[in-house]
């Protein structure tokens, strides 16, 4: 009991501070990633230029395959070349955004593409304009898939953000690195446990949001396909 108390007395404030930084970093990275990937995914799903689609999805796929540590190092290198700050929040944010793009992009694209063409044709036949079809048919019907992409992306980003401690962006990675360098169990626990909790909580919250946003009429069928898989 005493050990726990002294642990919190010693590391509690820093834990809170780092968790806050971590959440802040992930939140902004996700906000930017969604702001880029969602409209881009919609565009890709609706464009006739098949080549643009494969080029963009291909590029996002390549970024994803680069190991996260390598990507962060690469950003730092790039920033050094163009004389931008190489430590702190900015390079970390850029790396996280790049990493978060693909799941959102791909799910938005597939989500919209999997909407039954017959439904789109009916909507057209009834006299809906293109943007009306997007807003009141395609997006609502693909929302569960898009939200799943955002969820996966967020959980990954929470994990990868721990590496950003390496370039001085703060966050829970800081505590983990301290613990690793000095082989201090308390620091490791103070860094890893909140990081894991953060990921689990985000996953749960976004899962709830996904369910809440899914139109009632497709909830049942959506669940049954999930079970069927």
């Amino acid at each position: 009991m005493n050990a726990v108390l002294s642990f919190f007395r010693k590391l509690g404030p820093e834990m809170l501070q780092r968790t806050y930084e971590h959440t802040f970093l992930v939140f902004f990275a996700m906000a930017i990633a969604v702001a880029i990937a969602l409209p881009l995914g919609v565009y890709l799903a609706r464009t006739r230029w098949r080549r643009v689609v494969s080029a963009v999805l291909g590029a996002a796929g390549v970024i994803q395959t680069v190991p996260s540590l390598a990507l962060i190092s690469f950003i730092v290198l790039l920033f050094a070349l163009v004389a931008l700050p190489t430590i702190g929040t900015l390079p970390a944010l850029v790396a996280l955004v790049l990493y978060a793009l693909l799941p959102i992009l791909r799910n938005t694209y597939t989500g919209i593409r999997q909407v039954d063409p017959a439904v789109i044709e009916v909507a057209t036949g009834m006299g809906m304009k293109s943007h009306q079809i997007l807003l009141s048919v395609e997006l609502p019907l693909s929302l569960p898939v898009i939200m799943a992409g955002i969820r996966i992306s967020t959980v990954w980003t929470i994990g990868i953000a721990t590496l950003c401690g390496l370039i001085g962006a703060g966050g829970l990675g800081d505590l983990i690195l301290k613990g690793l360098r000095s082989i201090r169990m308390d620091y490791l626990v103070a860094g890893t446990v909140p990081a894991a909790l953060l990921a689990v909580t985000a996953d749960w919250l976004l899962g709830r949001l996904e369910r809440w946003l899914t139109p009632e009429g497709i909830r049942e069928s959506h669940n049954s396909t999930e079970e069927g898989e």
Binding site: G127, M128, E216, G217, S221
Partner: protein, 324 residues
């Protein structure tokens, strides 16, 4: 109302879906486009609201070439109902029906009233169904909603692509009968696509039989059955000829020369001159009567005996060339 003037549609890749089609859909009639898959019937229908655009020729809706009309406005003036998938799964029944009225920016109160009216019209209790989703409905109920939605903005023209397909035979017949009753009240110009000859004979004022993108014959159901224009039509009707004759021939056509009774019964079972032979046969079976009075719109016409009806049916059987 709708005029096809030498209309052709060739898809990229060279498939000729519709070849030099000319026909006119008269105001208030139900024209059935009948044919097998690949006959061009659906393509023909979809050209009317510009879901597919003709390669050559002209289509006139309300005396104006559709290519000179705004496609969005054109589509909102034409009702559109298709097979089972047609409803938007994420919208409630009320929202589904309200799509076009909302697009036309009708007031909220007006839309709500219209939705309830239409639900009642297609035989579904508004309070019970308004807030449900398509997944919570049976196939037959969904088709009813599809029909209601097509009529929502009260369009003069309605396009229906196998609206009663994918239903069990009993529900299907129920819906066909309901729609016929409904249709006689609302008098729309309807283009109805089907591959089912019996449905065509039942629903159509006229049938346009298509094959490989070409019009084979355009005639009333009875005329199509009695006077096939060519070998294709003859073969298409094929073994169904006998049943089709019974379904398309009316009581009036087999009525014996005036056999007027002096005292006519005011009540009880009666036949109508426009009943089909099948309906007449059913009536005899149900009532067990040997003689039934026949009426038309003006009043009592005469009597038809069961014996006479059976003789007429036997005659049809002979014409159809053997057993059904």
């Amino acid at each position: 109302m709708i005029i096809f003037d030498h209309v052709s549609k060739t898809y990229p890749g060279g498939v000729e879906a519709v070849r030099d089609l000319s026909l006119e859909v008269v105001e208030g009639e139900t024209l059935v486009l009948l044919g097998t898959s690949g006959s061009g019937k659906t393509t023909t229908m979809k050209m009317v609201n510009r879901l597919i655009e003709p390669t050559s020729g002209h289509i006139l809706v309300a005396d104006t070439d559709i290519m000179e009309q705004d496609p969005i406005g054109l589509r909102r003036r034409i009702g559109y109902a298709i097979q089972h998938i047609g409803l938007f799964p994420h919208m409630t029944i009320a929202e589904n029906i309200a799509v076009v009225p909302k697009l036309l920016q009708r007031s909220r109160a007006q839309v709500a009233e219209r939705v309830d009216g239409l639900l009642t019209m297609v035989g579904l209790e508004p309070d019970e169904f308004r807030e449900r989703y398509p997944v919570q409905l049976s196939g037959g109920q969904r088709q009813r909603i599809g029909v209601a939605r097509a009529l929502a903005a009260d369009p003069p023209i309605v396009l229906m692509d196998e609206p009663f397909g994918a239903l069990d035979p009993i529900t299907r017949e129920e819906l066909q009968n309901e729609f016929l009753a409904l249709e006689s009240e609302i008098r729309k110009t309807i283009i109805f696509v089907t591959h089912d000859v019996f449905e065509a004979a039942k629903m159509g004022d006229r049938i346009a039989l298509l094959d490989a993108g070409q019009l084979q014959q355009l005639a009333t159901p009875a005329d199509l059955v009695e006077n096939p224009a060519n070998e294709f039509v003859d073969q298409f009707l094929g073994q169904h000829r006998f049943q089709l004759s019974l379904l398309t021939r009316r009581v009036r056509s087999v009525m014996p020369a005036a056999e007027v009774r002096s005292e006519k019964p005011e009540t009880g079972a009666r036949l109508h001159a426009t009943d089909t032979l099948v309906e007449a046969l059913d009536a005899f079976k149900k009532t067990g009567a040997a003689v039934l009075p026949v009426h038309d719109r003006t009043g009592y016409l005469g009597d038809l005996t069961r014996r006479h009806l059976l003789a007429a049916i036997t005659e049809v059987l002979g014409e159809a060339g053997g057993a059904p």
